[in-house]
């Protein structure tokens, strides 16, 4: 089920809110069980069979958590953690990478065998990483072991962050699973956040998707201008798609009293690739930093080891996103860029306001190049697209560029503006106003947000284009 679907908005959410806040009010264990059941229904929607994969993962990690806690001070603890990691990664490998691996073995060896086509359980990369985080945090003493399997289930499957994150670390919500406090202020903040995410997803991400998919998937040659437009639209699409979904997840969590950490912080204002990754998919970045990069030695090691550490982290980051060579190359592109930045210290050396535009343009150029590889079906398609952007492609038929500009210019401008910190800037200005005009602004904000929400719902009712990039990650 998607947050930006009618079934979620009209049926699932009202029922869950009613059950949680009205029927089971002030009865925490029942509320938790109810949330777990709701999360499993949410997950099972569309492909019920994969709910068993989820339940298996919950039971396995609950058991491994108990064992790890019990043998924490003995030598077996490391072995248990290794077993847990192997189990989780094994599950991920079977569903996500086995087909890809066999396809590559087949094409390299020339052997003849049937490659099984294995369907991918939704959000498997997210929930396996969360599950590993549970056992690792228990092992490191960063979180209390959870004896109740239902609560481990709730942590792993909690619907606000289930399908597309943010990847919630166990230590972040360990106490809130049984000891959270729902407040009206938190609920209101959650609603506000959910609505903002909903608008980002439905009005901006989906509209950018129309442009990006229309151009990237075009069977006719497209002009260089249209290719540029397609890549810019995809750059905006993936941001709003994922950041919007994260906002909705964080907002929904907040409604139920969970405080998830931020996942995005205006990544498209970054002036270095290092900064970009501090602002983009923060939960994944910190997961790899804390569970892979730092255990490998982090950056306080000799240069060759640093390079190796970065290589491992970015190879894994690339592969985490999908079983395709494009993701590997995308990850390695960042390995190269970040290694260069770390070893040469270039961004730090180019201080001063005069350098900012240069740094910004170079960073965004690399980010966009990365998204081009990320979006392409394969590396050859990425290369062809890149050539087309510089006019080396076939002559274009029709004017795709004009079509998209004529139709979506308002959405494009809005997408660019809101990818910059325009809203916090405006908020700051409003907060500095005297009370009366500030109240007027607040009323206008509330009315505007509700109006835009209703418009977004109308887009969902119409069944307009509603893809979700991170759905299968």
């Amino acid at each position: 089920m998607l947050f930006s679907s009618l079934i979620f908005l009209v049926m699932f959410l009202p029922i869950v809110l009613f059950g949680y806040f009205v029927l089971l009010r002030k009865w925490r264990p029942a509320q938790n069980v109810f949330l777990l059941c709701a999360s499993l229904v949410f997950y099972a929607w569309g492909e019920p069979k994969f709910v068993f994969v989820m339940i298996g993962s919950i039971l396995f990690n609950w058991m491994m958590g108990l064992l790890t806690d019990r043998f924490r001070d003995s030598k077996s603890a490391k072995l248990l953690v290794a077993l847990d990691v192997a189990g989780n990664l094994g599950l991920l490998f079977i569903f996500k990478y086995l087909t890809f691996t066999l396809q590559n073995i087949k094409s390299l060896s020339g052997a003849s065998f049937d490659v099984p086509q294995i369907a991918l359980p939704i959000g498997i990369s997210f929930f396996t990483f969360q599950a590993m985080s549970y056992v690792l945090d228990v092992y490191r003493g960063d979180g209390e072991v959870q004896k109740n399997p239902l609560y481990v289930g709730l942590y792993i499957s909690l619907f606000p962050q289930l399908i597309a994150g943010p990847i919630v670390r166990y230590q972040t919500v360990a106490e809130e699973i049984s000891g959270r406090k729902e407040t009206w202020a938190d609920f209101s903040e959650g609603v506000n956040r959910f609505l903002i995410g909903f608008l980002k997803k439905v009005l901006l991400a989906n509209t950018m998707a129309v442009i990006a998919d229309g151009i990237f998937d075009s069977t006719e040659p497209v002009s260089a201008a249209a290719s540029w437009l397609g890549l810019i639209a995809y750059t905006l699409q993936i941001y709003y798609d994922f950041a919007g979904y994260s906002d909705m997840g964080i907002g929904l969590g907040r409604m139920f009293g969970f405080h998830f950490l931020e996942n995005f912080d205006y990544p498209y204002i970054s002036t270095s690739v290092t900064e970009f990754w501090r602002r983009w998919h923060i939960s994944l970045g910190t997961w790899f930093r804390d569970y892979v990069y730092i255990p490998l030695g982090g950056s306080r090691v000799k240069k060759p080891r640093l390079v190796l550490n970065l290589f491992v982290v970015w190879l894994l980051t690339g592969i985490w996103h999908g079983a395709n060579w494009t993701f590997v190359v995308w990850g390695l592109l960042y390995f190269v860029l970040l290694t260069v930045e770390k070893l040469t210290g270039i961004p730090g050396k180019l201080r001063g306001k005069a350098w900012l535009p240069v740094r910004y343009i170079v960073t965004m150029a690399f980010v966009c190049l990365g998204w081009l590889v990320f979006r392409a079906e394969n590396l050859s398609a990425a290369w062809d697209y890149l050539r087309n952007m510089f006019g080396a492609g076939a002559a274009a038929a029709g004017d795709t560029f004009l079509y998209y500009i004529d139709n979506y210019i308002v959405y494009l401008v809005a997408a660019v503006v809101f990818s910059l910190p325009a809203a916090p800037w405006l908020r700051k200005k409003i907060d500095a106003l005297p009370k009366a005009p500030r109240t007027v602004c607040d009323v206008l904000y509330t009315v505007g947000l509700i109006a835009l929400f209703l418009v977004s719902v109308s887009f969902v009712v119409k069944g307009s284009y509603n893809p979700f990039i991170y759905f299968n990650f």
Binding site: S5, I7, V10, M11, G46, P48, V443, L454, V461, K462
Partner: protein
């Protein structure tokens, strides 16, 4: 203020939830549950896998039509002038504030050419005159300005290509384009703004021109002999339904009722024969009050699309026998042509499942007229 926001949000959710249940969703669920015999487990799996609930919800959601209106209004406000639907339909707004489907350039297929020739051959054998009515499309590159500069307009090339095939096969071609220009009409004016069907006055005009050219009596083709009923701002055509009532508004719908005496019968498959005056026989008034989004007022002409319709004019029993190949927009023209014919048979090639050529051969018609759009032309026999 955020508390007020959450109160409004919860209110919206409540209204949507209860409103949707009351507006048919509950009935759908009940039907689904009562009709399923595969046990609870099977039911759960079916419901979840088939996305049944999602699909129904999009149709049953509380105030569905108003949501579409809001959607269209938002698109209009943000300058979206073209819509590409998942089913491949491409709708574009014109500078005249009309909506038009954009079609790719078409050339007559081998199958269509073959059908055109076979029909001509059959007509030759029975001695029937064979006409092709080349119908002006809603848009024309020399006349229409699309708000979306990326949309191409191939209507003229397509029209010429099809007319050439009919001419080659020996049909007499009634080129309504030429008559349209001679009569000072414009392409878009022939059609409803929100629809791809032509207006009542255009249908009447086309019937007059066709009657003249084919050699039918034209004494009833005087506009003054008809009274026009206008249903103000009440028609939302096929294109309009995709975008709602706030995008370009609604059309006035018109019907012409003869002031002269008429006595007709109409028979069609699966329906009781209708007999009486022109209005009683050919107009289905129930379509005028049906749901704007779910039904089309255009169904008022002849009750909408049927595979085969026979209209007899009891006041002109020796009048010409005409066979007209038409699709939905032809229903209006056919209605006004009927008082000038002895018998008018209508075949809709989209739905007719027999051999239309054989039907034409056996019917002893005086005139066979093909007046369908390119999409619906020439199904294999």
């Amino acid at each position: 203020m955020k508390k007020a926001l959450s109160v409004i949000f919860l209110t919206v959710l409540c209204v949507l939830f209860f409103g949707t249940f009351c507006s048919g969703y509950f009935t759908d669920l009940r039907t689904m549950f009562s009709g399923y015999g595969g046990g609870l487990k099977g039911l759960i799996l079916t419901v979840m896998e088939k996305d049944y609930l999602d699909e129904r919800l999009n149709k049953d959601v509380f105030r569905h039509d108003n949501w579409i209106d809001l959607y269209g209004g938002a698109l209009r406000l943000t300058g979206v002038c073209s819509l590409r639907e998942d089913d491949g339909k491409h709708i574009v707004r014109t500078a005249g504030d009309g909506l038009a489907f954009v079609w790719a350039q078409r050339r007559p297929s081998a199958q269509q050419t073959e059908w055109i020739r076979s029909l001509r051959k059959a007509a030759l054998e029975t001695g029937a005159d064979c006409w092709y009515v080349s119908i002006p499309q809603k848009t024309c590159p020399t006349e229409t300005v699309y708000c979306d500069r990326g949309a191409a307009n191939h209507s003229e090339e397509t029209d010429r290509a099809y007319a050439a095939v009919f001419e080659d096969a020996g049909y007499r071609v009634l080129d309504l384009h030429a008559r349209m220009h001679a009569d000072g009409l414009r392409h878009e004016a022939l059609y409803y703004r929100t629809d791809h069907h032509w207006t009542d006055s255009a249908a009447f005009w086309a019937a007059c021109v066709a009657a003249q050219e084919i050699g039918l009596p034209t004494e009833h083709m005087d506009p003054d002999l008809y009274e026009t009923e206008v249903f103000s701002k009440s028609f939302l055509g096929s294109e309009g339904k995709h975008l709602g009532r706030l995008y370009v508004g609604m059309d006035d719908f018109e019907l012409r009722i003869p002031r002269f005496a008429t006595r007709l019968t109409q028979t069609s498959d699966g329906e009781h024969p209708r007999a009486g005056t022109f209005s009683d026989t050919l107009f289905y008034r129930e379509y005028l009050t049906r749901d704007t989004f779910k039904d089309s007022m255009y169904g008022a002409y002849l009750g909408g699309d049927k595979k085969l319709v026979r209209i007899r004019n009891e006041l002109l029993p020796r009048g010409k026998r005409i066979l007209l190949f038409k699709d939905s927009f032809g229903n209006s023209m056919a209605s006004y042509l009927a008082p000038a014919c002895g018998q008018l048979d209508l075949i809709d090639p989209r739905f007719y499942d027999g051999s239309s050529v054989l039907f034409a051969q056996q019917g002893k018609y005086d005139v066979i007229v093909v007046a369908t759009t390119y999409l619906d032309l020439g199904k294999p026999d």
